[in-house]
């Protein structure tokens, strides 16, 4: 139904979409997830040409919509859009928001348009708000009217651009349940969303977008339970990390500590955890100190929101030595503190690097 080939989009020098090729079939519900600023919304807006692609081609039912001769407004009628900020026409009532397209674009009689619109408002549960103006509705109500407005045009596909991002949490579910219902009725939809649980159970296919690409795609099970690629894993597990690079024994410990503190604060980790992380890092660096003049040390602190765990990874080049080998250490005091703070410690030798992975309790 929609076929996108090698789509790319630049805003000036900024490349937002690199090379997107995808097909959306009739009846599919596609969720598009990914970090902010990776072009998800732009991709959606390119589909109905609100943003004109820089290159590539888009076919809708076999019609090339980037062709100069194509009647784009006509195509858009079959492919309506729900916006993050609702964009209900503020000078019209809920009902008129639905009828305007029907009477002006589909040339339906006023009466037919009104009857059908009332049906649709009933469907989204807002028949009694037919005469209300947008500024008299709550966010969730506005978004439901906006969805009904799309349906009024009898679209073949609906594009949802973060439909719940501007809502406060209490109103998210009313909107999502309307979308769920449409999915059940077999409506073709493409949904950009940050609601992972919703994306998982409403869609047939999930696209993970990152760096202007469709980075990984698959069924909800594949993407949410068994993601293959690194960034997908990080995103699904909601992992955020801090990297630090130490190349000489004269590194700035205070700057490092400050960075760790800021990182912990951002992830809203408890004070005790923060203290423990600082202590653990300090003890570890104490142990690494004799190596620092000859090797390069990479430290990574990663927090997984989903698993609620902290992971501290040290990697150094040089000969295969486990720095925590008891025999090498002058005393066991440091090691004891480390063992106490870390839940597990794993030593690996990979790519000529020694890697120590420490898991921490929260």
């Amino acid at each position: 139904m929609i076929k996108v080939e090698h789509l790319s989009k630049k805003f000036g020098d900024l490349v937002v979409l690199r090379d997107i090729t995808i097909e959306i079939r009739k009846g599919e519900v596609i969720s598009i997830i990914g970090p902010s600023g990776t072009g998800k919304s732009t991709f959606l807006r390119c589909l109905n040409l609100l943003d004109r692609p820089s290159s590539g081609s888009i076919y809708i039912d076999g019609i090339d919509i980037l062709d100069q001769k194509t009647d784009v407004p006509k195509v858009r009628q079959k492919m309506n859009m729900v916006f993050q900020s609702f964009n209900l026409f503020s000078h019209l009532t809920s009902l008129e928001n639905l009828t305007i397209g029907q009477t002006k674009l589909l040339r339906m009689s006023k009466k037919d348009a009104k009857d059908k619109s009332m049906e649709l408002l009933k469907l989204v549960g807002l028949a009694e708000k037919a005469d209300s103006f947008p500024d008299e509705l709550s966010g969730g109500q506005k978004q439901r009217v906006a969805i009904a407005r799309c349906l009024a045009m009898d679209p073949e596909i609906i594009l949802f651009d973060e439909p719940t991002s501007a809502l406060d949490p209490t109103m998210v579910s009313e909107v999502l349940s309307v979308i769920r219902r449409l999915a059940k009725d077999g409506m073709t939809m493409a949904i950009v969303t940050h609601e992972m649980d919703f994306a998982r159970d409403v869609s047939n296919r999930v696209l993970y977008m990152d760096e202007g690409l469709i980075y990984e795609e698959g069924t909800p099970q594949q993407i949410f339970e068994n993601p293959q690629k690194e960034r997908t894993i990080a995103f699904i597990n909601r992992i955020r990390s801090l990297n630090y690079h130490i190349s000489s024994p004269d590194y700035d410990l205070y700057a490092l500590n400050a960075e760790i503190e800021i990182f912990c604060e951002k992830q809203i980790l408890p004070r005790k955890t923060r203290h423990n992380v600082l202590l653990l890092v300090e003890e570890m660096l104490q142990i690494y100190n004799p190596f620092l003049h000859s090797t390069i040390l990479d430290m990574k602190l990663a927090y997984s929101e989903k698993k609620e765990s902290l992971e501290l990874v040290f990697e150094n080049t040089g000969e295969a030595i486990n720095p925590l080998d008891k025999k090498r250490l002058p005393d066991e005091l440091g090691l004891r503190i480390i063992n106490n703070l870390a839940e597990s410690i794993i030593y690996q030798r990979e790519d000529n690097k020694n890697r120590l992975t420490l898991m921490m309790r929260l």
Binding site: R76, N80, F83, N87, F89, T93, F133, M153
Partner: protein
């Protein structure tokens, strides 16, 4: 609304009464008495030079018209006015508390002004004046028009041709008895009659262009009029820019002062004096017709200038918002020039420069000038209104399948109209009031009509108060119609109407 109208009226009356009750001070009986006085002169008249020469220590104030200076004298702001003796006689007829010092300040020749280089016409006119002198016509005219009592003027019957090349006469018809507007709205007086005699002798139909005195010479130079016949003195300075015929009247400038034992007309009981003013300013000679015609002209100019200005403003706004510099730059320049120039200057430029050689109805010029000015302002009002509509509204319309143009008309425009109406109304009202300057290009609007009445009655306050009230009523009425538009464009209005019914 009624209450506030009453309040305004009461306020104006209050001012009238208080400024009217003037103080009688030491009267001027000789030129020496006037050395330190406050003296009024007419802008661009010979009085200015006389005042500078003869009363170097006096405070000299310039006025556009005699009636303004008389009004100032009545309210005690002036001690004396320098004016021609026929005017002085005329004013003292209506205001017995004034008179003039019999000794003339300066004798002057009154003559007809022509554009330079028009030697044939000059010679013809000189011949005509010779004939009129010889057959006693000028003498008879002098007796009929320059008389000391208030009996009606006897005007000669002159038959003018209706066919032929139009003879355009420049007059400033607030100079009774030289030239003034009679109850039928025609220009008459000594010079009105003279102009008609000339027309009859030349076998050409006559058309009068009634404008401010200081606008006469520019009008002559730009060809808007063929000659000026309005009691103009042939001074050396004026001779530099125009040619004069031989004099047809021996005039003199006199010092017009308050009588020593002046009893103010304002000493009449308040209501009696109001009734008198009402009669002389409105009923007498059916002057209300003049005022009504002026009112019509003001409304006509205001409404048409608004329509024209709104359409032009929409076009300028469209150009201004275009991404193409070819369109947006001219629009930007237009807006900054028109907003940075006084509308009076624009009005005069269009009349005297742009349409100098074309015989165009000054009302049309006024509509164009005010429309152009209005357009510059509303273009910016429209732009802020359109830009104020959330971009998401346009996007939603387009995503739904409307073309850009239809999105604008169905979605953006209705929201813009509501947004801009309050500012638009204000701009419109100030346009209505601004039209009061059209008298400069010989349009008889409401203000000009009141000037004409004042020039006959020399009563400043009543016509001014009346005109103020009329302007207020026009604005109020037009405002109501715009407010109606504002109401019906309020989306919630419909629903309220339904729920009320």
């Amino acid at each position: 609304m009624k209450k506030s109208a009453l309040l305004v009226f009461a306020g104006l009356m209050f001012v009238t009464v208080f400024t009217g009750c003037s103080k009688t001070e030491n009267a001027i009986t000789s030129f020496d008495d006037a050395q330190n006085a406050k003296i009024g002169v007419m802008t661009g008249s010979t009085g200015e030079a006389i005042a500078a020469a003869k009363f170097p220590n006096a405070q000299v104030k310039s006025f556009d018209d005699v009636m303004d200076s008389v009004a100032a004298m009545k309210s005690g702001q002036l001690d004396a006015v320098i004016t021609a003796f026929p005017t002085a006689i005329q004013v003292s007829k209506l205001n017995p508390e004034f008179w003039y010092l019999p000794e003339p300040l300066q004798n002057e020749d009154t003559a007809i002004a022509l554009k330079k280089g028009n030697d044939d016409l000059l010679a013809t006119l000189n011949n005509i004046i010779d004939e009129l002198k010889a057959d006693g016509t000028l003498e008879s005219m002098k007796n009929r028009w320059f008389k000391a009592d208030l009996s009606p003027y006897k005007e000669m019957n002159i038959t003018l041709p209706t066919e032929g090349k139009l003879l355009k006469i420049g007059v400033s018809a607030t100079r009774e008895p030289f030239s003034f507007v009679d109850k039928n709205g025609r220009v008459t007086g000594h010079d009105g009659e003279l102009a008609r005699i000339i027309g009859a002798k030349l076998q050409r139909p006559v058309e009068f262009s009634n404008m401010r005195f200081m606008a006469l010479i520019p009008a002559l130079q730009s060809g808007k009029v063929d000659m000026i016949v309005t009691g103009m003195t042939a001074t050396d300075e004026r001779r530099k820019s125009v040619d004069f015929t031989q004099p047809y009247f021996a005039n003199a400038q006199v010092l017009f002062v308050k009588k020593a034992s002046a009893t103010s007309t304002m000493s009449l009981p308040f209501f009696k004096s109001i009734a008198n003013s009402f009669h002389s300013n409105i009923i007498h000679e059916e002057r209300y017709i003049l005022i009504l015609n002026g009112l019509k002209t003001t409304v006509l100019i205001s409404v048409l200038a608004t329509v024209f200005g709104t359409l032009l403003g929409a076009l300028v706004c469209f150009m201004r918002m275009s991404k193409k510099t070819v369109l947006s730059l001219p629009a930007k320049i237009y807006i900054s020039i028109l907003r940075g120039t006084p509308v009076l200057v624009v009005l005069m430029l269009i009349f005297y420069v742009v349409f100098a050689s074309i015989n165009i109805d000054p009302v049309l010029v006024a509509i164009i000038a005010f429309g152009m000015n209005f357009a510059a302002y509303v273009a910016e009002i429209f732009r802020t209104g359109i830009e104020g509509v959330d971009k998401g509204q346009t996007e939603a319309g387009i995503a739904m399948g409307f073309s850009r143009v239809r999105t604008f008309f169905y979605i953006v425009l209705p929201q813009t109209v509501r947004r801009i109406l309050p500012v638009y109304k204000g701009e419109f009202i100030s346009l209505v009031k601004m039209t009061s300057i059209v008298g400069y290009i010989a349009v008889q609007d409401l203000t000009k009509a009141s000037d004409i009445v004042r020039s006959r009655t020399f009563d400043a306050f009543f016509p001014l108060v009346m005109v103020a009230i009329l302007y207020f009523l026009i604005s109020w009425f037009l405002m109501q119609s715009l407010e109606y538009v504002e109401r019906i464009t309020d989306p919630k209005f419909k629903r309220r109407k339904v729920s009320n019914a």
